[in-house]
Symmetry: C2
Subunit: 200 residues, 2 copies
């Protein structure tokens, strides 16, 4: 006997596939939307449908954007020769909030993690090298998180860039507490770290 209507069961299952959403939370979210006016579920459905339709990846910096190249890559006021390498889009947002960085970005979309099968080939490192040559980049600021995988990724990047280019390589200054994720750092700490970046 089916006590949960199939359409509700499907929504619960779909919510339950999201990270950090267990079965109880999924049921609660689905029941909430079932009780609220239909427009609320429809609005969420529309946003979900449009997500992949409207958002693309910038072919220069690998940021998610509705335009290619993205707004930052197109912006003539931003320093073309300075590129900040971050792990993920949320890190870019955190750095932009400080208003301390006037260069461009490059998003790796991950960190080296051999246990999860993520090696250098899975990150956007080839595109970064291409870009360094094509756009006369003269400084790469590495802004990976000061976590173990972030540090390992930074170490790999430094060696790789030194071997394959003549670009100046800098890193965020110490000031970021070890073990803290870039996107959770407070703005002042992050500003300080950008201002006192160190040559490697």
């Amino acid at each position: 006997m089916n006590v949960i209507p199939p359409a509700l069961a499907r929504l619960i299952a779909d919510f339950g596939r999201l990270p950090g959403v267990g079965r109880k939370t999924a049921s609660r979210l689905a029941m909430h939307l079932l009780r609220r006016p239909a427009v609320e579920a429809q609005a969420l459905a529309k946003s979900l449908t449009e997500l992949h339709q409207l958002i693309t990846m910038c072919s220069t910096c690998c940021a998610f954007s509705e335009a290619d190249p993205c707004e930052i890559c197109c912006n003539p006021d931003r320093e073309q020769g300075l590129v900040c390498v971050v792990e993920e889009p949320a890190d870019l947002v955190a750095i932009e909030k400080t208003a301390s960085f006037k260069g461009k970005y490059h998003i790796l979309h991950g960190v080296l993690s051999p246990a999860d099968g993520i090696g250098p080939g899975e990150l956007k490192i080839d595109r970064l090298l291409e870009r360094i040559r094509r756009d006369q980049v003269n400084e790469v600021l590495i802004a990976t998180s000061s976590t173990v995988p972030g540090e390992a990724t930074a170490a790999y990047l430094i060696r790789h860039l030194q071997e394959n280019s003549k670009v100046r390589i800098t890193r965020l200054a110490c000031g970021i507490p070890m073990g803290m994720d870039i996107k959770y750092a407070d703005e002042l700490t992050l500003s300080r770290a950008i201002a006192s970046r160190q040559q490697q």
Copy 2:
């Protein structure tokens, strides 16, 4: 400068409207779906769109169902004269799992909560009375939660049904939960269990 693409910002805002989902969680869910293949976001969108299209409220018992009357109300094997009153659909699911109840259900869709503006008129009590008269219901088993609002709702229902019908009114037994050590039972539960002790 817009560093979060508008389509992504809309999805984050929509997720953030769900109960218990803060801004960080909403961002995490949206970024997860953006990284995963488009079919995953589309599947969730489809389930959301179908939610209100396919699910209706059973006009007899007020359960959510794809058919009206619902499967339980249609089932000739279930005792027509015994109706279990629950607060919400999840309570029906919990009772069905026990396979100990062979009657029908009535869902109130809430509890009395004057602070939130929920009085008897907001619950499905009129429909219950109608149903008692129409379907020759002879027993109403009140299965509201043993919380303060659940108890208040039960007390109101008992008085209201006694005044307006001759139906037999029963309640779930209160006492020590199975598997619980007496010394860890709270005082109120233990008092109740002593007061309603059963002859063996």
